[in-house]
């Protein structure tokens, strides 16, 4: 698909996200906010996995670190506005640390190293009760107000999450369009070539983890205030796999891929609930079919259709 139609679809989608929510019920608003939270988190994972080519199965841990940071800060009586940047900074620093294994191992080995980190983080959330409240979690995480505007309502909070998603997307877009952003792609395509251009492979590998983790931290902070309760359940290993799936299904290394991937990962299971006890099976089958049919992700669909149309229009010899 050429850039203009893609941006046109993006603009139409944004208009829908601005105009339609007042007509939604509370659960619809919650789901849409939940989807946006995962869009933010997977945009970060897309930088790590899709653009920089680093396998990471530890992303749910960063979502958790962000959520617990805000919850703990607010429980201590401090503002959400302290917790939000703290979540981002803390995840950035921890993400830098998680990047170090990537300097030594790659592919499936790196995936398992990050999975190990995810397990460790989950154990801390579950068993360090003095800090995290253990399996009981932390209750009554509040929602903030901004310049006197109360964001406590579902609609107001939805627009707040949407605004943060737009800001994060704009920042990432700026990074990815710059030569420094292209360096992530260079790193993914061929680290030796990248190094021959003077790209600091080590620094960019670490940065890809740190920026990706930071996005998940922001998403986690928003999630804590959205649900108004934090416990270890949403940050388990399955969520890391689901976020990876969202990146791949949407279109790994494509800018709008995470938004579509999060539709599949967050909204599709809800839409399939009519299947009742079979809804997870239906979801699994839908994902398998998608991956077999569109291994390049949903965003590769227009190009695939176009190629098919061109092939069909050629006279047969």
């Amino acid at each position: 698909m050429t850039r203009q139609p893609r941006w046109l679809i993006g603009m139409v989608g944004m208009a829908a996200l601005l105009v339609l929510p007042p007509f939604l019920r509370s659960y619809g608003l919650y789901l849409l906010s939940y989807w946006l939270v995962f869009v933010i988190a997977t945009m970060g994972l897309n930088l790590t996995v899709g653009y920089a080519g680093q396998a990471s199965l530890g992303h749910a841990a960063f979502l958790g670190i962000g959520a617990y940071s805000v919850a703990i800060v607010m429980k201590a009586g401090c503002s959400f506005w302290l917790g939000l940047p703290l979540s981002a900074v803390l995840c950035f620093v921890v993400g830098l640390g998680l990047g170090f294994p990537a300097l030594r191992v790659q592919s499936i080995y790196l995936a398992f190293a990050t999975l190990g980190f995810s397990v460790a983080a989950l154990l801390v959330m579950r068993y360090e009760e003095w800090l995290t409240g253990g399996t009981s979690g932390i209750n009554d995480v509040g929602r903030p107000s901004l310049f006197g505007l109360d964001l406590g309502g579902n609609l107001a909070y939805y627009y707040f999450v949407l605004a943060v998603a737009v800001v994060v997307a704009a920042l990432l877009r700026g990074v990815l369009r710059s030569p420094w952003g292209k360096a992530f792609t260079a790193l993914r395509d061929n680290p030796i070539r990248a190094e021959s251009l003077g790209i600091d492979v080590r620094a960019y590998t670490l940065l890809s983890f740190a920026i990706g983790a930071s996005c998940a931290g922001i998403a986690g902070a928003l999630l804590a205030s959205l649900v108004q309760f934090v416990d270890p359940t949403p940050f388990g290993l399955g969520v890391s796999f689901t976020m990876y799936l969202m990146v791949v299904v949407g279109g790994s290394g494509t800018f709008f891929g995470p938004a579509l991937g999060a539709v599949v990962g967050v909204l599709l299971p809800e839409w399939l609930r009519f299947a009742q006890g079979w809804y997870l099976t239906a979801f699994g089958v839908a994902v398998i079919v998608l991956m077999l049919w569109l291994p390049g992700g949903l965003l590769s669909l227009p190009d695939r259709l176009k190629a098919r149309a061109i092939a069909a229009s050629r006279p047969r010899t």
Binding site: P179, W180, A183, T185, I192, R193, E195, S196, G198, I199
Partner: protein, 254 residues
């Protein structure tokens, strides 16, 4: 002892002194010592496994030096990182094979080439580079993968030139190119050397490369076995034997 038929009065740009390097436990450069003259095209030749590409990678800081020293214009650059060599010492490296990022556009590839310069300087220099490569200039927003093999190699060299290097290390530039395009690339390298850039080239297409080069250094088993003027070597009836890795049993090559 390596044999030498070169003029000792030539100013030395690159000097490898007793260098040992390799991959993991495998030693490829085996106490290699050699000197490359400033502002000349110097060709590294030798059989497969002689250590030619390894020598370039070691020089460019992509492989650690386990023993010995590397000097550039008399300054010790042993252990310097590629980024430092590019930015502080003016050494650029074009590795073997296709080195572009195919999904990025020609312009984006050029921008990446100048990543160590900063965006403003890079964008100022890109038009200068494009003047030298008109065929690339007309394809600025095309995906780099859509360029022909020759255009891609020109873009790779152009990308390296953005940094206005004092030294250009280039590994097998003729691979996958037609003879006519190879000639264009060689002429470009010749022009660079004539303008003062030191060019150190590894090339399997030895006879063509010797016509371009000023000097040739032969390696065998990670050691320096010969250093002569390129035109002398080209007319040596023993060239093929030397290129295949043999060394003279005794005594200097006249």
């Amino acid at each position: 002892m390596p044999t030498s038929g070169t003029d000792k009065s030539e100013p030395i740009c690159i000097e490898l002194d007793d260098v040992v390097a390799g991959y993991g436990e495998l030693v490829i450069l085996n106490h290699l010592s050699l000197q490359v003259s400033r502002g000349k095209v110097t060709l590294l030749i030798g059989p497969n496994g002689a250590g030619k590409s390894t020598a370039l990678k070691t020089l460019f800081g992509m492989l650690p030096v386990r023993h010995g020293r590397i000097r550039l214009d008399g300054n010790d650059i042993t252990g310097a990182a590629p980024r430092d060599l590019l930015t502080r010492h003016g050494v650029a490296f074009v590795p073997q094979g296709r080195n572009l990022f195919g999904r990025l556009s020609v312009y984006e590839n050029l921008e990446l080439g100048g990543i160590t310069l900063g965006m403003k300087t890079t964008r100022e220099r890109i038009p200068e580079v494009l003047e030298r490569f008109p065929c690339v200039k007309n394809r600025l927003h095309s995906a780099a993968a859509s360029l022909s093999g020759g255009e891609q190699k020109q873009l790779e060299v152009g990308r390296a030139l953005l940094l206005r290097p004092k030294v250009l290390l280039i590994d097998e530039p003729s691979v996958g190119l037609s003879p006519l395009v190879v000639q264009d690339v060689f002429l470009l390298l010749r022009a660079l050397a004539d303008a003062g850039t030191t060019v150190l080239i590894v090339e399997q297409n030895v006879r063509s490369a010797l016509k371009l080069a000023d000097e040739a250094i032969a390696l065998a088993s990670g050691r320096h076995v010969l250093h002569r003027r390129a035109d002398e070597l080209l007319s040596d009836p023993d060239l093929d034997r030397l290129f295949l890795g043999g060394t003279r049993a005794a005594g200097p090559i006249p």
